[in-house]
């Protein structure tokens, strides 16, 4: 599916050299996508509700320690392990968008997709969502609030993609690079997250994807992720 040049191949490039681990993307994602905040007790039970998270790994021995960050979100795989295992097509591949779609109304909550996601990118609604004051005043009307028993995950801000497409159609032009930016990319102060269409050869992601630092997460599984990481640290050359 990734080979096809028609249509869009929405891609995210995350430069790990730029990522400071500030978590602005996490907050922006919560705000944009109506992801509830669950509180410290629930998080300590292993039920942190995030669509994007910063994984922090320590490198080296004390005192020569270095923190390494890697933001992990749904990789929007071309060959996604979550899709075939869903018994009701709640998790399916949109050929038009080249994205993994999660249909909340269809989801029956088997959690098989979450077990089968090697990136552990899926979040489950263990209870009905709760938005404490004043967060309940800022829910995004473009995004559904998910109720208990439903699996959810990063959508690449599909509502923004749609809005960008509608805007371009209204102005009778084609979609330009930079028209669509997901909340995480928009909020990243270091501009570590770049979003665009890989099928557009002049897009920023297409340029960045040529970098020699590029890698994809757990690429050996053959999942064909749409998130490209640029390796961080001192070891790279170019």
């Amino acid at each position: 599916m990734a080979e096809q040049k028609q249509g869009h191949r929405w891609t995210m490039v995350i430069d790990l050299d730029r990522c400071t681990g500030c978590q602005a993307c996490v907050v922006a994602c919560h705000a944009e996508n109506n992801v509830p905040t669950v509180g410290p007790e629930t998080v300590s039970m292993g039920r942190a509700q995030h669509w994007i998270r910063i994984e922090r790994y320590w490198e080296g021995e004390y005192p020569d320690v270095r923190a390494r960050f890697i933001p992990i979100l749904c990789q929007q795989c071309g060959h996604a392990p979550c899709e075939p295992v869903c018994p009701v097509f709640a998790s399916y591949h949109s050929d038009a968008e080249n994205l993994n779609i999660q249909v909340y109304n269809r989801c029956i909550g088997t959690r098989y997709c979450a077990n089968n996601c090697p990136y552990v990118a899926r979040a489950y609604n263990w209870f009905d969502p709760y938005f404490p004051e004043p967060l309940n005043e800022q829910l995004n009307p473009d995004v559904t609030v998910r109720y208990r028993g439903v699996m959810e995950k990063c959508t690449f801000c599909i509502q923004r993609i749609k809005r960008g497409q509608d805007q371009a159609a209204a102005e009778a032009r084609s979609l330009h690079d930079g028209d669509v930016t997901p909340a995480c990319g928009q909020s990243c102060p270091a501009e570590a997250i770049v979003f665009g269409d890989l099928n557009d050869p002049h897009s920023r992601v297409a340029e960045l994807a040529k970098s020699r630092r590029r890698f994809k997460l757990l690429e050996d599984l053959g999942t064909d992720p749409a998130v490209i990481y640029l390796k961080g640290g001192a070891s790279h050359a170019g």
């Binding site: 292993g46 994984e55 992990i72 295992v85 018994p87 269809r106 029956i108 090697p118 263990w126 208990r148």
Partner: protein, 476 residues
Amino acid sequence: MLADLPKAHKLVWPHEDDPKERLLLDPIPQDEMNSRMLKPMLKASPGYWLTVAILATVVAVCLFGYWFYMVRWGMGIAGIRRPVGWGMFIATFVFWIGISHSGTFVSAILRVFNVEYRRPITRASELMTTFSLACAGLFPFIHLGRAWTVYFMIPMPNQRQLWTNFQSPLAWDLIAITTYLIGSTLYVYLPMIPDLAMTRDRMTGWRRTIYKFLSLGWRGLEYEWHYLHVAIKIFAFAIIPVMFSVHTIVSWDFAMSTQVGWHSSIFGPYFVTGAIFSGVSAVISVLLVVRKTMGLGYFLRQEHFDALAKLVLVFSLAWTYFFFNDYLVEWYGGEWVGHQLLTLQARGPVAPLWYAMLFFNIAVPVLTLWNKRVRRSPIALFLITIGINIGMYLERYIIIPGFLQRNRLPFDWGAYNPQPVELSIAIGTLAFFSLLYLLASKVVPLIPVWEVLEGQLSHTRRRIGKTVVTSVAELE
């Protein structure tokens, strides 16, 4: 006849088993045989009703009550978390599917191979299949986050022509389990018809009306027997591949995934072997209780338990083989995450369970069941078989919520702690199974009397020279 022989003669071949006991070759009048089966069915002690009441309460509160509470508030009250999406619910589900292999194996496979000692034990084990499937069948509903949308899984298009996803192992699961449930119910019912008719002929009043309906107007005519034998034979052959497919497909729920430790081509036969291992053990435990409480000592003898215990020993060794194979490949392969799993089992939080599993599934049966005295001791056998089922439950627990605690991204590792709702529902299904079995024991003759009689009639004891042999006449 054997009593006529000189005593010294027996001592010549002390190792040789006398099939007389296994084949019940000490016939009693047919009427007495019938009444020995019917008497415990008609009589219910206060203890029986008390047990039924307790079990019914446990089922109502622990199983259904807690389940509906969970449906109301959300799966969050269970201990599952990220990344352990499946916990005790699925482990218990696999456990009951495993128990359901008891009946089919003991009854159908032994029937197909004309193993004669199966006769008195078929019905009791087939009923276990049906009832354990009834328990297992609850779990796909229980573990759903939105149990009220379970009908989405029925392979039938909705108003937008959207079907279920036949690529999903869970969709295969649903079809396999439904097929097995229907098939095994028919398979337990068919050989029951002559016994139901026998019961009908000895009952009066409303009971007679019920059995009249259940026995489908059986009169015992020659063509009826002919068709019954043909039908049983067809079902016995047909249910065997269904049995293999069911647990293979259940194992595919795991083996088809990308999870390390699950993605293994050995899971199909490994799970089937484990299922038969736990199933046959459960048959022994249940039959021992049935014999004790219902006074069926005439039908269920030491020799039957001896023969079943040998099967358990064989399956213990077979399970050990698969376990070893699975373990060795993971270890030798040297993949990093795989090694983390093995460390988790050997030294991690799962370790006590893992060693207990090896103790109950390998050490105990292999070290004890070779001994005829152990195989013929009801108490020892009861403890060993209960231990095996504890061990097999631990196996499923280790494989499902155990393995899920480790994955390729160490940041997302996590521990799983079962919560009250999970323990309660697991205990609730054990009570549900026991309740169904207890109720059935008063409705259905647990011993297929006609099959026992058929076995007795088809065997004769003949003296040839100085020895006595059992000869078999094929009933055709």
